[in-house]
């Protein structure tokens, strides 16, 4: 393998060679096993770098970070206070109340949120079967996925409204407040998509917001949400 070709391999993998240089390298690769091997090894190095999981610090630095968070201005609680004018106790209580509300709903109304067998017609995450996607443009697939998420969300919301009657009004209000945060994000995404309906990016963004809401509804009980 000469330096002439070796120096071009990385650029080739990064798609940085001029078309004529890329064509020349590809022609060379058909007759140079050494360069083919090197190319494969470089690809392996790049793949390793991309998926490298990292190495945790020898000493857990979280306790020191945690101590600093409570003395740091400009964190989430400060930002929310500035935006909403809500008192800090309410901001801190919001996730607690959300968890408590969901726990109450799970107890009072069965396991609708947890997706256990005891609850009939439990909405779960929608997945479009692969067969349905064949031959369909990606934007259409994305929107089809969004429609399925919407159906699952609607069912979850119906279950929610049917089970909030017995809950403390403050809990319901706080739960709704939390859901409204993500609903606003969904509404923003929907508006953006309406203004540019052919945008695959916006369609994916809209679907992602829908998926986040569904995941939030389904997985909230898994999270320990006490104020640290």
């Amino acid at each position: 393998m000469s330096d002439h070709w070796a120096t071009k391999l990385s650029a080739y993998l990064d798609d940085e060679l001029a078309p004529e240089d890329a064509a020349a390298l590809e022609a060379h690769l058909t007759r140079c096993e050494e360069c083919v091997t090197a190319l494969g090894e470089l690809r392996a190095v790049m793949a390793w770098a991309d998926s490298y999981p990292g190495r945790a610090p020898a000493t857990d630095v979280w306790p020191r970070i945690s101590a600093r968070l409570h003395h740091t201005r400009g964190g989430p609680v400060d930002l929310l206070n500035e935006r909403s004018g809500r008192p800090p106790w309410l901001i801190g209580a919001l996730p607690k109340a959300l968890a408590a509300g969901i726990a109450l709903m799970a107890v009072a109304g069965g396991s609708w949120l947890l997706g256990r067998a005891s609850a009939p017609a439990v909405p779960a995450l929608a997945v479009i079967p692969v067969a349905e996607m064949r031959g369909v443009p990606s934007t259409d697939v994305t929107m089809l996925q969004a429609e399925k998420y919407a159906a699952a969300i609607a069912e979850l919301e119906m279950a929610l409204s049917a089970r909030t009657a017995g809950l403390d009004s403050g809990t319901v209000r706080i739960l709704n407040e939390k859901l409204h945060v993500i609903d606003r994000a969904i509404a923003d995404a929907r508006r953006a998509l309406a203004s540019d309906p052919n945008s695959a990016y916006l369609a994916q963004h809209f679907t992602r917001m829908m998926r986040h809401k569904l995941i939030l509804l389904r997985n909230a009980p898994r999270f320990t949400v006490t104020q640290g």
Binding site: A6, T7, L9, S10, E16, A38, E41, L42, A44, V45, M46, W48, A49, Y52, P53, G54, R55, A56, P57, T59, V61, W62, I65, S66, L69, T72, R73, G74, G75, P76, L79, L80, P88, I91, G92, L94, P95, G115, A121, A124, L125, A126, V127, P129, K148, A152, E155, I182, R208, M209, R211, H212, I215, N219, F223, T224, V225, T226, Q227, G228
Partner: protein, 184 residues
């Protein structure tokens, strides 16, 4: 709703999205979960861009900064991507402050040649992580920024104060050195 199945498992990105929602509400336990999912790679990033000095301090700074800036996260990319950009900025600022000292270890292509010459014995799996440790500093920084953090050569050149050509050259030589440490 028979077609709704439970086949979608919660991915790390999904877990991040949910925890970011909670963390923005002021839930530091959710932020701790984000920390635990991402600290290994942030720690390695800091170690490889800075050397062993100050790594724990800068890792702390990264996550405190992320907490401060959490409200500005718009969800346009995965949270992990956002965090890595923020982390790289924090780390490079720290590096700039001590550039004089770092310049002593900027490395040369001659160093690279020596690094790649110390290859593994055939059939012996050599840790690529250790091989990255062994790269000259400049090559290691370019490799980490480009292949691990997704920076463009122009961005790397601006961040490290080098030319685009140097960035390309260092990347090529780093990869060529590392490939010799692949499993034999």
């Amino acid at each position: 709703m028979r077609d709704l199945t439970d086949r979608v498992e919660m991915t790390s990105a999904d877990a991040d999205a949910v925890d970011v929602e909670f963390a923005i509400s002021g839930d530091s336990r959710a932020f701790e979960r984000l920390y635990r999912r991402h600290v290994p790679r942030i720690n390695s990033l800091a170690r490889w861009l800075l050397g062993d000095d100050d790594v724990e301090d800068v890792v702390q700074d990264v996550f405190v900064r992320a907490w401060q800036k959490l409200g500005t996260f718009r969800g346009e990319s995965a949270w992990g991507t956002w965090l890595h950009r923020l982390a790289t900025n924090v780390i490079l600022r720290r590096r700039a402050k001590r550039r004089t000292r770092a310049d002593r270890f900027s490395g040369s292509l001659a160093d690279l040649a020596r690094s790649s010459a110390t290859t593994s014995s055939p059939g012996l799996r050599v840790d690529l992580e250790a091989a990255v440790d062994g790269l000259p500093e400049r090559a290691r920084q370019v490799f980490v920024l480009h292949d691990m953090e997704g920076f463009k050569h122009q961005e790397i050149a601006d961040a490290l104060g080098i030319s685009i050509g140097t960035s390309r050259s260092q990347l090529h030589h780093a990869r060529m050195a590392l490939r010799k440490h692949l499993e034999g």
